[in-house]
């Protein structure tokens, strides 16, 4: 029986040491500043990304999915090593990544490559990949791992606060959160992802209030199997939120990480969100 290897994309926001330890292969998305193209998490640091984003405003960076060819290359290497693949990706509603992975799998060997739409993003996707990789390391077979993944997907929660709607508006990936556009006041949205799509939750006017509300939402969702506080270029807010969550989850087990720059280009700096797997 062959081993299972987990493949995902860079929007899973997996910390590199975690990916390395669990032997998860991360396929990068692309970031384009004008003519310059970078691979997310490889060719450009967060600092440089946000510096350029600010410097080149109002021209915003664009993102693109890994191509089917990119996936074919990665898949082929793994297949050649004799392993089978479960490839788990960012919501198909936000990116063609999932579809390109699917095309690559069909091209190569659909029997040995299973592609799953996580219908989520960031560490919500990351937690699923970690659980799947851990199961693979334990020696679980394909069906068992798929079952673990499918059991987890409905338990992912991602209440998030955006400092501004400007970037989301530009990216056009807002869906029904459109209800929050065009407000007379300068409101900051709290959003989530449901069924693979962005949904509006409520509006706040201040960061302080945003953190209060996110913490309150987390309290309603608790207890958690796993929880991360993700941010775009605002570590202080993330630390503060993690501290506020210490009463619902052991503080040392709350992962704090910076969201990838592809996501950063869609939500802008100053966003902070919770990526949680609620307990069964």
């Amino acid at each position: 029986m062959s081993n299972i290897r987990i493949v995902t994309d860079s929007s899973a926001d997996l910390p590199q040491p975690v990916a390395d330890a669990l032997d998860i292969t991360v396929v990068p998305l692309y970031i384009h500043f004008g003519e310059d193209t970078y691979r997310e998490g490889i060719d450009i640091t967060h600092e440089e990304f946000y510096r350029r984003m600010e410097a080149e405003a109002p021209n915003l960076p664009k993102t693109s999915a890994p191509s089917p060819a990119d996936f074919m290359k990665v898949y082929q290497e793994i297949l050649d090593e004799g392993d089978d693949i479960i490839s788990i990706h960012v919501s198909a509603a936000f990116s063609t990544t999932y579809n390109n992975a699917r095309l690559a799998a069909q091209e190569l060997d659909p029997e040995r490559i299973t592609v799953i739409d996580s219908r989520n993003v960031s560490m919500c996707l990351g937690w699923v990949c970690i659980a799947a990789a851990e199961a693979a390391m334990r020696g679980d077979d394909r069906e068992e791992i798929i079952e673990i993944v499918l059991d987890m997907l409905p338990r992912l929660r991602i209440p998030s606060f955006l400092e501004t709607l400007e970037y989301v508006r530009y990216g056009g990936r807002i869906g029904s959160a459109e209800a929050f556009l065009g407000t007379v006041l300068d409101v900051k949205p709290i959003l989530a992802i449901e069924d693979g799509k962005v949904v509006p939750l409520e509006k706040v006017r201040t960061r302080g209030r945003a953190l209060d509300r996110l913490a309150a939402m987390a309290r309603e969702l608790a207890p958690f199997e796993d929880i991360a506080v993700m941010h775009t270029h605002s570590p202080e807010m993330a630390e503060k939120l993690a501290d506020m969550l210490a009463d619902v989850h052991p503080r040392q087990n709350i992962l704090i990480a910076q969201t990838g720059v592809a996501m950063g280009s869609h939500v802008g700096p100053g966003a902070v969100g919770i990526c949680a797997v609620v307990a069964k």
């Binding site: 029904s176 459109e178 209800a179 065009g182 407000t183 007379v184 006041l185 300068d186 409101v187 989530a192 449901e194 949904v199 509006p200 939750l201 409520e202 509006k203 706040v204 006017r205 201040t206 960061r207 302080g208 209030r209 509300r213």
Partner: protein, 565 residues
């Protein structure tokens, strides 16, 4: 008009021992008429010197709704008449005083249930029932208000009924006790004492008792109130002119006569003979004429024969009056306006209804996805019926109401009770609280958690209001002169002064801006955009760390409403 006020049957001095439905009708109308006559006196008793949602106006409109319902009903039995009155008052209730009054009438009607006629004993029971209903309508009953006046009046009715079967005597005792209680309201409520006034709602109730008694004694309750076609004075509207004849107003005619050797005295006499409100001033070369006539022809012709006419303005006052009447009728009961944008209703099945003054603030609420707006606020309290209509008009059966004014909360709660829908009132006391609540509406939560979230969000903001004092007074040690800008922070008057910027600066300082991230300033109809921006620039200079946003509110009377959060 004498037949309205002095029924011949009552001139006979034998005790009146039985109250029937027909007489109750007359008593209610007399009470309403007397209150209408005296409503400005009640309005003058506002504690805060703000252009307020006036108690007199609110109670008067509440009574008027009761009389209107009565006029439309054929009821003759005592209990039925009382019920119709209660129903009319309930729907027409405006402001906290109006709601409490409507509850008094509701209790009174319940106390008379099953009675074709009533004796003093029956009335004593009904007065007690009235008091009980009013107390239970208020979450935290406060003594020194209309409630105290009602309670002591009811106790007097009980004592009186034990010794007399004369209804006039009972009402005299009731009025005495009510007046006595009213006089003592400042001793029970220090805000009244500080402001040097008695309780306005209590005063309104005393006028109602007085009106009934005046009727029974054959004293006039002022006939003009019977011509209910003339709308009540509303704060934004000029009072209507007096009709000339046959209920017609005719034309308002103004012109100049230019000529030589004009005889001002003679012209004045002639013009006076032609119509009303004649005003003739000038000298031998130019005379200014103003007069109201049913026909503009003769006055103009007369003037033209004396010299050359100039600056002729002729206005049709009948049309103006019609407009006035429509405006007066529309203003308080404008239909709920469905909003154009995605509403909470369409998105979640939970409708939101907000009471909002001003077109700018309406845009704010619409952009925050409110389902329906009831125009109104501090200077214009919507009636229970206005709120009920908005609640009924929205699609959903689950509705959250934001009254956005402390004087509208009770009417909203009353509307919630009367509606067949599931209605929650988040008792927002200010517009900024309402905006905070609206933002906190969560598109994925159920109605209970939303109500809780919204309340919590409302409590989270500090609300500021700035208006001009309508009289000179002293509140909480702050000297207020008529015309001063006064700053109210979360319902407390904190500063008064001549300069708007100074007043605002002092308010922000009092609130301690270091506690907040953002201040949002909604400027009213009394400020221009430029003035508003200049004002906020000055504030920004004084408090550079606080983020500030200027938004057009368009609210009447309140130069600035603001929130700190």
């Amino acid at each position: 008009m004498a037949e309205n006020t002095t029924p011949s049957s009552l001139r006979v001095h034998e005790p009146l021992t039985v109250l029937d439905g027909t007489l109750l009708r007359e008593l209610v109308k007399a009470a309403a008429a007397w209150l209408n006559r005296n409503k400005e006196k009640v309005n003058a008793l506002n504690v805060f010197p703000v252009p307020d949602g006036d108690t007199g106006t609110n109670m008067n409109l509440t009574m008027r709704s009761a009389v209107k319902e009565l006029d439309a009903s054929p009821a003759t039995r005592l209990d039925e008449v009382a019920k119709v009155v209660a129903q009319g008052a309930l729907l027409g209730a405006r402001g906290n005083s109006g709601v409490i009054l409507s509850q008094l009438l509701r209790g009174f009607a319940r106390g008379l249930e099953g009675k074709e006629t009533a004796t003093t004993d029956d009335l004593a029971i009904a007065f007690q029932a009235a008091t009980k209903a009013a107390y239970s309508a208020v979450m935290k009953p406060v003594e020194g208000t209309i409630l105290t006046v009602a309670r002591e009046a009811a106790d007097a009715a009980e004592r009186s009924a034990a010794t007399t079967s004369d209804i006039v005597k009972l009402l005299e005792d009731v009025l005495d006790a009510a007046q006595d209680a009213l006089r003592r309201t400042p001793d029970m409520l220090h805000v009244l004492k500080d402001a040097g006034v008695v309780d306005s709602g209590g005063q309104g109730l005393v006028f109602l008792f007085e009106g009934m008694l005046r009727y029974l004694k054959g004293e006039p309750v002022e006939a003009e109130a019977e011509t209910s076609a003339i709308p009540d004075h509303l704060p934004e509207l000029d009072a209507p002119p007096e009709p000339l004849a046959d209920g017609r107003y005719g034309y308002d005619i103004q012109f100049l006569i230019r000529g030589e050797n004009l005889d001002v005295e003679a012209i004045r006499e002639m013009i006076r003979s032609m119509g009303d409100c004649a005003l003739v001033v000038g000298d031998s070369n130019v005379v200014k004429v103003h007069v109201h006539c049913l026909n503009p022809g003769p006055a103009l012709e007369y003037g033209a024969n004396l010299g050359m006419l100039d600056d002729i303005v002729v206005e049709n006052m009948d049309l103006q009056y019609e407009e006035f009447k429509q405006q007066a009728e529309q203003t308080p009961v404008a239909p709920p306006m469905p909003t154009k944008r995605v509403s909470t209703d369409a998105a979640t099945g939970i409708a939101t209804v907000a009471v909002v003054p001003g077109d700018g603030l309406r845009n704010v609420f619409e952009s925050l996805n409110v389902s329906a707006i009831v125009p109104g606020g501090q200077t214009m309290n919507p009636s229970t019926q206005d709120l009920l209509e908005a609640i009924d008009a929205v699609e959903s059966d689950t509705v959250i109401v934001l009254p956005n004014n402390k004087n509208i909360i009770l009417a909203a709660q009353q509307a919630a009770e009367l509606s067949d829908k599931t209605v929650y009132v988040v008792p927002t006391r200010t517009v900024p609280q309402g905006i905070a609540a609206m933002m906190a509406f969560n598109f994925k939560s159920d109605v209970e958690s939303n109500v809780q979230n919204m309340q919590e969000a409302a409590n989270h903001v500090v609300s500021g209001e700035v208006t001009r004092a309508v009289r000179t007074t002293q509140i909480d040690g702050i000297e207020v002169e008529e015309g001063d800008f006064i700053g109210i922070l979360d319902g407390r008057l904190v500063v008064a002064g001549k300069d708007l910027t100074d007043v605002m600066r002092s308010m922000l300082k009092t609130a301690d801006p270091s506690r907040f991230e953002i201040g949002t300033f909604y400027y009213g109809a009394d400020l221009s955009e430029e003035e508003a921006h200049r004002l906020v620039e000055a504030l920004q200079a004084a408090f550079p760390a606080l983020e500030m946003e200027v938004v057009y509110g368009g609210q009447p009377n309140y130069h600035v409403l603001f929130s700190l959060e």
